[in-house]
Amino acid sequence: MGERGKEELDRNRINHSLDSPPETELSLEGFEVAVVGAGPAGSAAALTLAREGVQVLLLERGPFPGSKNVFGGRIYSYAVKRLMGERWKEAPVERFVRKEGITFTTSDSAFSIEYESRDPQFSFTAIRAKFDKWLAEQAEKAGTQLVSEVRVDDLTVENGQVKGIVAGGDKIPTDAVIACDGTTTGLARRAGLVTMLEPHEISMGIKDVIELSSDRIEERFGLNPGEGAAHVFVGDCTGGLRGGGFLYTNRESVALGLVAGADDVSLRKVLSPSLMEKLKTHPRVQRLIRGGRTIEYDAHMIPEAGPGMLSRPFTGGMLVAGDAAGHLLNSGYTFRGVDMAIGAGIAAAQTILEARKKRDYSARSLQVYERKLREEPSLKDMYTFRRVPAYLRNKRLYDTYPELICAAAEAVYRVDGTGKRKIFRELRAQTKGRVSTLRLIRDLLSGARTF
């Protein structure tokens, strides 16, 4: 280990162990598995391995786990339950989601559908800086060595087999590496599992976190204390760009943001930060956040290519999980990432545990990972809905249809004494000039096959 790098890493270790008993000087060597990235995938993998007595090193480039992580706002509980058992209730939950909704918008009208769930325990809103930190702490309690403020720069590869990582100029040898290094995944690229994604395969997500008292949140959204709402906005609020707005209620804040296709943003020359103000000033949205004060601006790049993003999620000595492997699902009405990352992290850890028994970390030994991903019920959804991203690239979903839905609703609800047509005739009339009947039926049928 080079002197400078060692100092650097030691310093980090000292910082990190301020709140734990003093340790004798540790070397970064001697770990069996290096997990790169302490997001949900990395912490779930490290936790699962450490419980089985594996010597795990969990590396995080941020000042603490969660400090670099951004999402919309919701986590599906089953995944945390699966990982933590009954102790999942200790997770830093903001609000359990009682209400689900979607709103189609034009510039001055909106059509909403809302569903009120019988059991809000299925999902909860969260703040990543708290949730990811908590999850990494669970991994630490199980025996994981977490080291923050370390950027992993490279892999050491011998004869096509990953033999360790390079950080701070030093080579750290391990039996295996689990790369949970996020959308840009330098490690999967370095291992040749992915070339660069295309702009239409990524989206830009941006959001404002807006402070609002819990009373106001509960009154405005019609919620019982502690319960939350999740809402999706489609149409004019994103300027008709591919994507949509979202809103999640935290305990004392609202996470309001949007996701827009990178190709659309770039080629239509829309400044991505300007979309935030557009969403915020939409009358439907404005009434929900009035009196609030913005306390943070966040952004994150979202891979939308699905698990097909990597040619395969493993190579000799290395597995890839989470955003880095496209383990997320945007169905247009629900957005899943954290639950799938946790599931993939667990599957990666289980694969390593089996390989460890055989003392064989070759690609052939690790290939069972892919089968685990496909067979795990929660992760299977990624494959079941694999055609969704292509369907969601249909431009009409973001301009024509929201306008059509709002115009139809206007025609149905408006009574101005001029005489009304029967509903079906009115709907037919509204489609005229917007979309051909044939095209509409084709979009509907293809939607039915895709979802």
């Binding site: 650097e8 400090s67 950080a167 930060p273 913005t294």
Partner: protein
């Protein structure tokens, strides 16, 4: 009735986020290439407007939110001018909410 918050400028938004300066330049742009770049996608995709155009491409990495999207659009529809990696360990953006 509660007042609507005044629209925020991007600078105001970025002032709500903590940054630790990285002495190492983690974004390097060969700005000569940008003159021939027709679409200049980096100007639009970046949520922090790290990239701006005034006679030439200017970039200020201090407000970088580390999404990595600039690299992709630059290499796929731009001039392949941007070299980008994450800031050094512990440096760069740090979110309190996320």
């Amino acid at each position: 009735m509660a007042e609507a918050e005044k629209p925020l400028t991007l600078d105001q938004r970025l002032s709500l986020v903590s940054f630790t300066k990285d002495p190492e330049p983690f974004i390097v742009v060969n700005t000569e290439l940008c003159h021939k770049c027709e679409k200049k996608p980096c100007l639009y995709i970046c949520p922090a407007q790290v990239y701006t155009w005034q006679d030439q491409l200017n970039y200020n990495i201090e407000g970088c939110l580390e999404t990595g999207a600039c690299l992709i659009v630059c290499h796929k529809i731009g001039a392949k001018a941007i070299q980008w990696k994450y800031p050094s360990g512990g440096k760069g953006v740090s979110f309190k909410q996320g």
